[in-house]
């Protein structure tokens, strides 16, 4: 913006920005600072005495084999949900892009689950996988697979993955379709004239051109799978059976509100902040590149 389009006023800009700064300070910066502070303290369960213990909470958290299990579990969940939701969406978007007439109808049919809350998506699949009355759960039991996510940790994990990925397909679909529609027809046609078939065109032209979209979605999906899956898990398996579906966010919540281990929970929060920070930085790296072009 050049200088001539700037208004001159001493106090007005502060007044305009004040509400956002106030909310940011009170509900974002201050709690985050408190989390960092709290993570350096040990408080007795009655909140009567606190002592400064340095990084001991972090050491406790990182040396706890259960925490490391949770890290691995969350990473597996994030990778599987991201891969599943993105691959499915890419296939559907590629099909919808080339379908010509009727693509609008398919688009409408495919994008509405974006509006379904993760918690409700979890509840829907919880019924489907129910071993006694769910269509899939009962079907599997009839086929001789012993299916009961309430007892089998792996099966509970599958339930969470399917529900979380199902909900995310529509988001990825919207972005992939938008990305596909920006690819110039002429490029595709030139390749076709040169004799490249549909498969070859997809892998050598379409997919590389979708790179930026794919990278953006990768980060968004990872953040979703790390953080928003809490609702899917809490509304259905509650982290069970035997912690088989306990994720990092679930553990922060559980240790903080149920176990009342404030220092440990705060240390975990700070570790999560670092994780989001890293993912956000990645995203910005991408946005910068996009802006530079």
């Amino acid at each position: 913006m050049n200088a001539s389009a700037v208004f001159k006023n001493r106090s007005l800009p502060y007044l305009l920005i004040a509400p956002q700064i106030a909310v940011t300070l009170a509900f974002f910066i201050w709690p985050a600072a408190m989390a960092v502070f709290q993570s350096l303290l040990r408080e007795d369960p009655f909140g009567l005495a606190t002592e400064f213990i340095g990084l001991a909470n972090y050491v406790d958290v990182l040396e706890d084999p259960r925490y490391l299990d949770t890290v691995i579990r969350s990473c597996v969940l994030a990778v599987v949900v991201t891969a599943g939701a993105m691959a499915t969406a890419l296939v559907l978007a590629t099909m919808a892009d080339g379908v010509g007439r009727g693509s609008g109808v398919y688009k409408t049919l495919l994008i509405w689950p974006y509006a379904v809350a993760p918690a409700l998506a979890g509840v829907l699949w919880f019924l489907i996988f129910n071993p006694s009355i769910g269509v899939v759960g009962r079907g599997l039991n009839r086929l001789g697979v012993v299916w009961n996510p309430a007892l089998d940790g792996t099966q509970a994990f599958v339930l969470i993955v399917v529900a979380a990925a199902w909900k995310q397909i529509s988001y990825n679909f919207v972005f992939f379709l938008a990305g596909l529609q920006t690819i110039p027809r002429a490029v595709i046609e030139a390749a076709a004239i040169d004799g490249a078939g549909p498969g070859r065109r997809f892998f050598t032209i379409v997919l590389p051109l979708l790179g930026p979209t794919t990278f953006f979605l990768l980060v968004v999906n990872l953040v979703y799978a790390f953080f928003e899956t809490f609702a899917v898990i809490h509304a259905t398996t509650r982290g069970g059976p035997n912690s088989a579906t306990e994720t990092l966010v679930f553990k922060v919540f559980n240790d903080g509100f149920v176990g009342l281990d404030l220092g440990g929970s705060a240390a975990q929060s700070v570790i999560l902040m670092a994780l989001v920070g890293g993912l956000t930085a990645l995203q910005f790296h991408f946005l910068d590149r996009k802006g530079a072009r």
Binding site: F7, L16, F28, A115, L120, L127, W166, V174, V252, M273
Partner: protein, 282 residues
């Protein structure tokens, strides 16, 4: 020209139909469950054919909730969700428009610092600061209130960024002309900038309404009284019943009602929704 292959066209339609089917199936099965009577559910046969009790079940949960499970009427919870979603979307749009206006159209000391402060909120989703945020909101006496539900979610930088990007794309000659004609900054903001931002605001509203309605973790900790539950969060009280099967027809009627408003918003405003999401000028 790209060759036309009838087989490929058929395959496309088949894949898309299968995809649409997989996407729709869970909701159809939920509808089937929600249309069964309590007795039908006992028989354990839940197929693809709906029963006749949907209206009765929907009415029951809307008006009564599930008293045995400590779940208030779904109608009340949906109203709570509505207030929360509106407070979040309107509040976020209002403060973001003002701060983006300040950042783009003024030069003032601390501008950069404030910009980065707003920016940092991107790294602080409510999930990572849940315990201390709870403490802050409790200290303000805001538990069990719409303000308490909305405020900690309101200040994320996403909306501020979108409006900043848009303001930067508005030709600077407009502000210049307004100034030469003697219009003050607020006059320019209200009479020129806001009308130009109309579609962007609407698109943002669609996205934020859905975001607000679908909140789960924050309402879970910020509400203690059952009459303040939101529907997306309240449903877990019906599902997680110790040592018993959930009453599935009631649960599913609640789930369907709970997803209806945001799904309707997406379907009714599909174009705005896609614009708000992808953020392009397409």
């Amino acid at each position: 020209m790209v060759e036309t292959r009838p087989f490929l066209a058929l395959l496309r339609h088949l894949v898309l139909l299968a995809g649409a089917g997989v996407v729709l199936l869970p909701v159809w099965l939920a509808f089937v469950a929600a249309s069964m009577s309590g007795g039908d559910m006992m028989n354990g046969e839940l197929g693809l054919v709906p029963g006749s009790q949907f209206y009765a079940n929907a009415r029951t949960v809307l008006v009564d909730g599930l008293r045995s499970g400590g779940v208030p009427p779904v109608g009340l919870m949906m109203l709570n969700s509505l207030w929360m979603a509106l407070a979040i979307s309107i509040g976020k749009i209002a403060i973001s428009l003002l701060s983006a206006f300040a950042i783009v159209y003024f030069r003032f000391p601390l501008r950069k610092l404030m910009f980065w402060m707003i920016f940092m909120t991107l790294m602080l989703p409510v999930e990572v600061r849940i315990v201390p945020t709870f403490k802050v909101v409790a200290d303000f006496g805001l538990l069990d209130s719409t303000a308490g539900l909305a405020l900690p979610l309101i200040a994320s930088a996403t909306a501020t960024f979108l409006f900043r990007q848009f303001f930067l794309s508005v030709p600077p000659e407009l502000a210049e002309a307004a100034r030469i004609d003697g219009a003050g900054p607020m006059r320019f903001f209200v009479d020129i900038l806001l009308p130009l931002s109309r579609t962007n605001i609407a698109a943002m509203f669609v996205i934020l309404f859905i975001y607000g309605w679908n909140q789960y973790l924050w309402p879970l900790v910020a509400t203690t009284g059952e009459s303040h539950y939101t529907v997306v969060m309240g449903i877990q009280r019906m599902v997680a019943v110790p040592d018993a099967e959930p009453i599935w027809n009631i649960v599913m009627a609640t789930a369907l009602l709970g997803m209806l408003p945001p799904v309707l918003v997406v379907l009714a405003m599909q174009r705005l929704f896609v614009k708000g999401l992808v953020g392009g000028d397409k």
